[in-house]
């Protein structure tokens, strides 16, 4: 708080119109910290890791980002609304195993048509949707904490994935699945096109639709949304349903990419998905955040991941770094928020305070002081 006040003084908050411009610059800068980190990492690895700046390397990065980006996108919506979905990693496993079982069975029976793969996708999405809706129904109607509910279903989904696969990897997928998981269009993997397509649509949904607005509003104050007459239960079920469906789809694409599905496929996926959301600047407390932040967060994670490999750092370190990164991101975000609030308010007390003044005079006796509380 103290540093924030210093900054505020430095940038002349509360001063004349001329001195106010830097505030906007600071805010503008803060908004793009994630992007800046991403660029710095890009430059760093380009300079220090030979072979980093190649098309292969880039499509690798997109490739490995895409699957868990899908998870992270659903998770972002859930976190916007002040919830959490811990079951996405297990759902990735379950969706993968369920659709791979079907596809490999059909393929073994001599059916190598594209339709098998299409049905495989539908199965993964449907299984994910079902599991997500289950989460949502329990959270909405039994009024339980999503943390506990999805922790429970984390175990349930994983157990079912094990049951389906007998704990063994499911392989021998049809060629169309392999193409889906590994094909490229102009060096951009299909999987990345799918994930970025979802990111674009979901970003629109978050910013421009009523559904998105209610997500943020619920994250800010569930009670205010209830009093506004919104059907909270329906919204909650849809929200977790979307998260589950995306996780199921991610599982199928993951299986398609590796030509194999197993119940352990989603082992680190939850950690990585939440890391992407948090590094992307969405506060875990809900009510705000951006879908594109999550895309950048996911890219930052993969960049570190790939960069480490290229630099020959042992892969064990990656988990350590991701964990630390989550904590750092939350800290930085919290710091930014305080700063923004201080800077923001100094602006508001100039402009907004005379809100209720009946005529002209700046009636800001108590109002200005209260804002800084």
């Amino acid at each position: 708080m103290q540093q924030a006040n210093m900054l505020q003084r430095l940038f002349g908050a509360g001063g004349g119109p001329l001195e106010r411009t830097p505030n906007k610059a600071v805010l503008f800068g803060l908004r793009f910290t994630n992007l800046a980190v991403l660029l710095i990492l890009l430059v760093f690895f380009a300079l220090s890791a030979p072979g980093f700046l190649s098309l292969v390397s880039f499509s690798n990065i997109l490739d490995s980002t895409s699957v868990f980006l899908l998870l992270a996108l659903g998770e972002t919506f859930v976190i916007f609304a002040g919830g959490i979905d811990l079951s996405v990693g297990s759902m990735l496993s379950l969706g993968g195993v369920a659709s791979a079982s079907y596809m490999s069975e059909r393929f073994a029976a001599g059916d190598d048509g594209v339709l098998t793969t299409v049905v495989g996708i539908l199965i993964a999405c449907a299984v994910g949707l079902l599991g997500g809706v289950l989460n949502g129904v329990v959270i909405a109607y039994m009024k339980l904490d999503p943390l506990i509910v999805t922790l429970g279903t984390l175990g349930i989904f994983l157990g079912i994935a094990d049951l389906i696969s007998n704990g063994l990897p499911v392989g021998d997928l049809p060629p169309a699945a392999f193409t889906l998981g590994n094909g490229q269009f102009l060096h951009v993997p299909y999987v990345a096109i799918i994930a970025l397509g979802f990111a674009a649509v979901l970003s629109f949904v978050a910013r421009k639709t009523r559904f998105g607005r209610y997500c943020y509003a619920i994250g800010a104050s569930q009670e205010s949304v209830r009093r506004a007459g919104v059907n909270l239960n329906r919204h909650t079920i849809m929200l977790y349903g979307i998260s589950g469906a995306l996780a199921g789809l991610a599982g199928m694409l993951n299986a398609a990419h590796f030509s194999s599905a197993s119940s352990s496929a989603g082992a680190n996926a939850l950690l990585v998905a939440i890391a992407a959301v948090v590094i992307g600047g969405t506060p875990i407390s809900g009510g705000e955040g951006k879908i594109w932040g999550t895309v950048i967060g996911a890219l930052i994670y993969t960049l570190l991941d790939n960069g480490f490999v290229l630099m020959g750092i042992a892969s064990f370190w990656q988990l350590v770094v991701v964990g630390a990164l989550i904590i750092l991101a939350v800290y930085l975000d919290e710091y930014q928020r305080r700063l923004r609030l201080t800077v923001g308010i100094s602006r508001d007390t100039e402009g907004v305070a005379p809100a209720l003044a009946a005529d002209g005079a700046a009636g800001q006796d108590s109002t200005g002081a209260k804002a800084s509380a």
């Binding site: 009523r210 509003a217 994250g219 949304v225 009510g287 308010i345 809100a355 209720l356 006796d365 108590s366």
Partner: protein, 261 residues
Amino acid sequence: MQSKTAPSQPAGNSGAAPTELRLEGVSKSYGGVRALQEINTTFRSGLTGIIGDNGAGKSTMMKILSGVTRPDTGTITLGEKALHLTSPVDARLSGIESLYQDLALADTLDITSNIFLGREMTRSFAGLRVLQDRAMAKAARETLSQVNIRIPDVAVPVRALSGGQRQAVALARAVRFNAPVVLLDEPTAALGPRETAAVNDIIGRLVDSGRMVIIVTHDIPAIVGMADHLIVMRAGRIVREVDPRQTNQEELLAYMVGSRT
């Protein structure tokens, strides 16, 4: 639910003067706390003031009338129509708007989004309800200026506002949709004298336009000067209903604290 697009101008059912709003045998308990006991009263058009000590049950009564809280027993009738208020939507559809004591704002959303929360202007696109943000911002500015609330930027998140400004936003939301019945639970609690005067002015205009306005307040001198009808509550009961011209502050205080019954 509210699938209709909210009108950009305040609704056309512009407060067709409601006859009366009647509560009969309304009770509500929270565990062992009897927040309301056998409330029987009738509200009429014009301004009704509800006063009473902290915990007297004023907000509970308001929340029952706005569909937020369901009474344990009792009936509510508006005009000839029995109301079954199971949710805030029911109350709204019956023409009842509320400003809650706790304001019920979503802090991270901007002023416009808060005013239109639950009643967004939208158009359909590919099965999605796309927000008409610009139209809503325009309408929000209009409402704020109609009620003399001067906030230059409706895109400011509500959490950056002062207590008084937040209250102003909640008030704007309660008056924007031209409901015939308006419930205001301590609308001036966070306001300074100048802002209080502005809000009282708004309330006066609501009453002049034929609305039924029910206001909970601790500002006894002001409400005695404004109200057409006064209700004094204590410990979950109505202990006095009186024409403010035929009483004085001492008498009202005596009923509030129970030295007169």
